[in-house]
């Protein structure tokens, strides 16, 4: 494995780690909840993520 392949691989691993899907539990652990004065805002009925 050449050094630049290694760096590219490391960068890809780092980006995967920062971008891996977050579960609800992780979100609850990360973000302030009801007791800190925040509530989850449900998406409107016809919401289509682009």
């Amino acid at each position: 494995m050449t050094p630049d392949q290694w760096h590219a691989d490391k960068a890809a691993r780092e980006m995967y780690e920062r971008n891996r899907p977050l579960s609800d539990e992780e979100l609850d652990a990360m973000l302030p909840g009801a007791e800190q004065g925040y509530k989850v805002l449900p998406p409107p009925a016809g919401y289509q993520p682009i």
Partner: protein, 92 residues
Amino acid sequence: MAAAAARRQARLPPEVNRVIYVRNLPFSISSEEMYELFGKYGAIRQIRIGNTKETRGTAYIVYEDIYDAKQAADHLSGFNVQNRYLIVLYYN
């Protein structure tokens, strides 16, 4: 698509995060308006909005993809919503 591909290769600074924290939102903003305003930049994983006296007017918006969050933060900071200027920060 090339731009999107190039965008994906660019390494992001450490503070860039999938969760953006927004202040100075109008108190009366609706779910439709929130999802329409922030959903333009990418799929939204979750929105948490402040509902007490201290947290009203602020929200955490979680995007599915970190590059979308960066686009949103870049375009929305200082954006005028019902003549209030949005303050957008990355969650840390």
